[in-house]
């Protein structure tokens, strides 16, 4: 058999394998993608929360995208305490001013950044939140101060629609 002939045969087989592999890949993708959030889940837009009844020193918890969101109306003492903390004392340095646009209102995802439990309100060594699962302590700005959690609790996208209503998402 001449060398030319061998090459052509090799090319034919290689091309067949390659084209076949593309097809297998294209077939597998829908089977994987079907597990991603579907159109109705993605469309679940924002939640609007009426905060007119929340007095200073109170926290309410609302559900947004299946997760708890803490909305705390902080007292003047708490605001002062949060703003006094030095950045170098923090594991995940963030200014309280950046976390709470309106200092009176702290809106954050109530999910511990360690493994996803919901921290308890007004507990822990720093007057903020305490996660009972693995002992992470958060301060009154929701910043991690002690324990295994790597970062501060997340601030979702939100805005005040009017003075009484917060729109999350």
């Amino acid at each position: 058999m001449s060398e030319k002939k061998t090459n052509r045969r090799d090319f034919l087989f290689t091309a067949t394998y390659a084209v076949g592999a593309v097809g297998v890949g294209a077939t597998i993708w829908p089977m994987i993608d079907q597990m991603n959030p579907d159109a109705s889940v993605k469309a679940l837009a924002s939640t609007e929360v009426d905060v007119s009844t929340v007095t200073p020193g109170k926290t309410i918890t609302v559900l947004w995208r299946g997760k708890p969101v803490f909305i705390r109306r902080r007292t003047q003492d708490e605001i002062a305490e949060a703003r006094l903390v030095k950045l170098e004392d923090l594991k995940h340095p963030e200014k309280d001013e950046d976390r709470a646009k309106d200092p009176e209102w702290l809106v954050m995802l109530g999910v511990c950044t360690h493994l996803g439990c919901v921290p308890l309100d007004q507990k822990g060594d720093y007057n903020g939140w305490f996660c009972p699962c693995h002992g992470s302590h958060y301060d009154i700005s929701g910043r991690i101060r002690k324990g295994p959690a790597p970062t501060n609790m997340e601030i979702p996208k939100y805005e005040f629609v009017n003075s009484n209503t917060i729109k999350i998402g």
Binding site: P30, M31, Q34, D38, A39, S40, V41
Partner: protein
């Protein structure tokens, strides 16, 4: 199983294979000596494996989104069709896949009938095949109930009511099947469970089916025993693999056409209406692949006997290796059987047609004649034919000429090549 001892080349391979001989199995499967004169009708075994895997994979995906509850099943199917990523594609593949599965299995069965593949020493392969076919019908029926449309509901009602034909205990069995006094949520959830289970039973039986096949080896269009391995055989890989692959791709083109361009043509419009226990659709028709049996059921004017006739029509197939008394396998060398074979094919197609039509007037008469002929074929024609028929002389091997150089050789050869 293997005709020669296999030793893996690598040290690790040998170590592993001594403990679990997977490599020996793989070697057996790739080297498996296959008759080289197999025609394309023999590719449907591979196609059926593809169908089963496709149904299992798409079915698993659908089960991730489907909700087996009478109040939510229909909604969840619409959710799959509209919102789930590629949900419409996966559901249409699954729904049309059932039809393609049956199309392939019917070709597979009729190939076996033509070439006498059910005869000794392959009776066990055949009987396992019939069990698989029965389980397929059960799975298809229960799967059709899951979308909880009008045909789902009324199909389930009608089919489960077949059991009420059993004397004395019939009514009790039906209530037990339903888990209530009508087809309702308990029925749906148990059908879902069983629909999920059956494909895996089929998968296990397919392994046995192939195992039983690999003991005597494949039958072939000439129907004579061959030595293996010999110059009459080729190793399964790559010869049969590539040929099966080619046929599978042709099959997939047809499949894709259904899925992408006429995804609902094989279904029934009424199944897009949510189940309503107060309204029965004008015509209750099973899926096309069950129509011949439905015609047999309706052609008998007695409830119990109708059910008996329908079940006998299926179970009679299991006795086929003993009903067919001819020692010659392939219809190529059986001129009379060949004609009766095609009459049977036509008979089953006619049964399918009248099964879709209202059971009245001429349709009913035709259904009765066709039913009678169906049983006549298996119970009278086949046993008698084995003794009476003058068969053509068989060749010595699939590559060598007939002993004595019969004048019929040319005709026989031509017939074989026509079928390839």
């Amino acid at each position: 199983m293997s005709d020669h001892e296999y030793t893996p080349k690598s040290k690790f391979g040998k170590w592993f294979n001594d403990r679990l001989p997977l490599l020996t199995l793989a070697n057996h499967l790739t080297d498996y000596p296959t008759p080289k004169n197999l025609n394309y009708w023999w590719t449907f075994g591979g196609i059926l494996t593809f169908c089963l895997i496709t149904q299992i994979v798409t079915g698993l995906v659908l089960a991730m989104h489907y909700i087996a509850h009478a109040d939510m099943a229909f909604d969840s199917v619409e959710h799959i069709m509209r919102d789930v990523n590629y949900g419409w594609l996966i559901r249409y593949i699954h729904a049309n896949g059932a039809s393609m599965f049956f199309l392939a299995v019917y070709i597979h069965i009729f190939r076996s009938l033509f070439y006498g593949s059910y005869k000794a020493p392959r009776e066990i392969i055949w009987i396992i095949g019939i069990i698989i076919y029965l389980l397929m019908m059960a799975a298809a029926f229960m799967g059709y109930v899951l979308p909880w449309g009008q045909m789902s509901f009324w199909g389930a009602t009608v089919i489960t009511n077949l059991f009420s034909a059993i004397p004395l205990v019939g009514e009790g069995i039906v209530t037990w099947l339903w888990g209530g006094y009508s087809v309702d949520n308990p029925t749906l959830t148990r059908f879902f469970t069983l629909h999920y289970l059956i494909p895996f039973l089929i998968l296990g039986l397919v392994v046995l089916h192939i195992w039983a096949l690999h003991i005597p080896g494949n039958n072939n269009p000439v129907g004579i025993d061959i030595k293996k391995p010999s110059k009459d055989t080729v190793p399964f890989h790559p010869y049969i693999v590539i040929k099966d692959g080619f046929a599978l791709l042709m099959f997939m083109i047809v499949f894709a056409f259904f899925v992408f361009y006429t995804p609902n043509i094989l279904g029934h419009a009424d199944n897009y209406i949510e189940a309503d226990p107060l309204v029965t659709p004008a015509h209750i028709v099973p899926e096309w692949y069950l129509l011949p049996f439905y015609a047999i059921l309706r052609s008998v004017p007695d409830k119990l006997l109708g059910v008996v006739a329908m079940l006998s029509a299926i179970f009679i197939l299991a006795a086929l290796p003993w009903l067919d008394t001819s020692k010659i396998r392939s219809a190529v060398f059986r001129p009379l059987y060949r004609q009766f074979y095609w009459i049977l094919v036509a008979d089953v197609l006619i049964l399918g047609y009248v099964g879709a039509m209202p059971a009245e007037g001429l349709y009913l008469l035709v259904a009765r004649i066709a039913t009678a002929y169906y049983f006549l074929h298996f119970l009278v024609i086949l046993p008698v034919l084995g003794f009476k028929e003058r068969t053509l002389p068989l060749p010595l091997s699939i590559t060598e000429p007939v002993l004595g150089g019969s004048p019929n050789l040319a005709a026989a050869k031509k017939k074989v090549s026509l079928n390839s």
